[in-house]
Amino acid sequence: MPRVAIQAKGLVKWFGEGEAKTTALKEVELEAYFGEMVYIVGPSGSGKTTLLSVLSGILKPNEGSVQVEDVAIWTLDVDHLAEFRLNKIGFVFQDFHLFPRLTTAENVAIPLILKKKEWDASVREAEGYLEIVGLKGREDIPPVKLSGGEQQRVAIARAMVSQPDILIMDEPTASLDGDTGNAILSFVRKNILNENRCIVVVTHDSRIYEFATRILQMEDGRLKPTTEKSAK
């Protein structure tokens, strides 16, 4: 029996009030398990990013609950929630959001630095993760001098450096060409995913569907029945 990593119940999220009110999530129920690489796919405006934000403790739902492992995250106060994200969740943002004035290794070290780990030790540890994502020798250059695929790898290394149980990837191939996107997701599937980790990917790039273990279809704020995929 796989262990549940994320359990969402009755999630409702709306924006605006009165006539301007838009409901982005409508009674969403979801369970994601360790060892899974779950894709949430769907057209623009279907509520994928909103769901990802609610699941990762970024955006508070109006109704419903989210349990990550044993923690009901939306019962935590702001500081504890931030600490929870820092320790349990790794983020790979759509636009990477790397710091252009820092070196690649320093970018990767940021979560460790936020965990109050000493600077030099954090950077040394980050260099190890850069090696894992295939960027050995690129530690001291700024990320702007890297290609899009390499920047994505830096973002993945940054998400992984604090060894999170949950990895959240928002449109990971949006800024990449097809081959690079495939290579990145293949790498994640082979090297990052393991039985103690759950990866949730939001995408509308059908070229990378093959790397998912399960695909959830989102449409008009609701999750449609799941498509099980074989392990790749």
Partner: protein, 378 residues
């Protein structure tokens, strides 16, 4: 350095263009402020030159006196009365006035004459050439080697001049702590000779210099002098009275205040705007940090550190630039009236602290308001 502060430091200084603009703003503001106030402090210090150089504990004067240069004669009986007051260790007269010296080449030069008490020579300057007792020699004067010394044709011992058709001979060269404000050379002689050589009003005593028996006697002496219809001020009070005159009765204080406000506004507008722009440009990254798990207090600490670091660096550069310019000016103009005091430095520090506070407040508000959800939405 703590990790998040080092992160803040690197984000700040690695953005060379923004950091330079920030520093430029703060440095320029501090420089403007320090320079204006240091000139004012310099002027005030020079205006009190006689008080500083004579160094008496208590000065007794006519209540109408506003500055040490603006003397009102005191009758001789005041000196006698003061000498008999309780708590007075000794009291001596001082002559302070101006004259027109005719130099050996036939030109005339305004001079400041200080007449020291013949018996005690209280307030005598430190001699670098000659002997103090030669001041008692016939026609003896001591010239002060300060910025105005050359106006007396760089006299040496034995140089002659005339003062109101009285022959004067330089018998010593002295140095003093502070030179005067008005650009006139200073000559020391005895009280009797000063009174004899210079045209006299009815009363010749400019000030009575008093040494109290103890510090506790100062107040008692002041009360007794006050009862006599005169004013007794300590050295510091007299300097403050002189400063107050320039600050409040000449418009100098208002001008200085205006310049301080202008420099503050310049600093605030350049640095505040640049810092706020810096925060805005990094807003997405602060949002990303928030999403990753940075707590609000971490972000606030980072912004405060950036603002403080910029402010202190800019302050140091501004003070350094002011010192450099004053030093260069004094190489060319030794009497250049500019002086950095702890007061200037404190005002400058307060100003940059306010600039840093306002700048960081705006930045902190913006960063705390950013919703990490925006990072996901792109």
């Amino acid at each position: 350095m703590k990790g998040t502060l080092k992160l803040a430091y690197k984000l700040l200084v690695n953005d060379t263009a923004k950091f330079s603009a920030l520093l430029l703003g703060i440095t320029f503001a501090v420089f403007l402020m320090m320079f204006v106030t240091s000139m004012f402090v310099g002027v005030l210090n020079h205006a009190s030159a006689t008080v500083i150089n004579i160094g008496s504990t208590l000065w007794i004067m006519d209540p109408a006196v506003q500055t040490v240069a603006n003397t009102v004669g005191i009758p001789d009986y005041v000196l006698d009365a003061v000498r008999s007051m309780q708590g007075v260790k000794y009291a001596v007269p001082l002559y302070s006035g101006g004259g027109l010296a005719k130099l050996s080449d036939g030109t005339y030069q305004s001079v400041n004459i200080i007449g020291l008490d013949d018996t005690s020579l209280l307030g005598r300057p430190e001699l670098v050439e000659g002997k103090i007792e030669d001041i008692y020699a016939e026609n003896g004067f001591i010239a002060v080697r300060d910025a105005e010394f050359s106006k007396l044709e760089n006299p040496h011992i034995g140089s002659e001049f005339s003062l109101n058709d009285n022959r004067g001979v330089i018998v010593g060269i002295a140095k003093v702590a502070t030179s005067g404000l008005y650009g006139t050379p200073t000559l020391y002689t005895t009280y009797e000779r000063a009174a004899q050589y210079l045209p006299n009003p009815r009363y010749t005593i400019s000030y009575v210099l008093v040494e109290p028996k103890s510090a506790a006697d100062v107040q008692r002496i002041k009360q007794q002098v006050n009862a006599l219809g005169y004013l007794a001020l300590t050295k510091e009070e007299f300097m403050q009275r002189t400063a107050d005159f320039f600050v409040y009765k000449t418009g100098g204080g208002t001008n200085m205040l205006i310049m301080v406000i202008i420099s503050f506004l310049v600093g605030l507008s350049i640095s505040g705007q640049t810092f706020y722009t810096f925060i805005l440009e990094n807003l997405e990254r602060f949002g990303a940090l928030k999403a990753i798990g940075a707590k609000s207090r971490d972000l606030v600490g980072m912004i405060l550190f950036q603002a403080t670091f910029t402010a202190i660096t800019g302050y140091g550069l501004g003070v350094g630039l002011s010192v450099l310019l004053i030093w260069l000016a004094k190489l060319r103009l030794p009497s250049y009236a500019a002086m950095l005091s702890f007061g200037n430095l404190a005002i400058g520090l307060a100003m940059v602290s306010i600039i840093a506070g306002i700048s960081s407040y705006a930045g902190i508000r913006r960063v705390l308001r950013i919703d990490p959800f925006e990072i996901f939405r792109g």
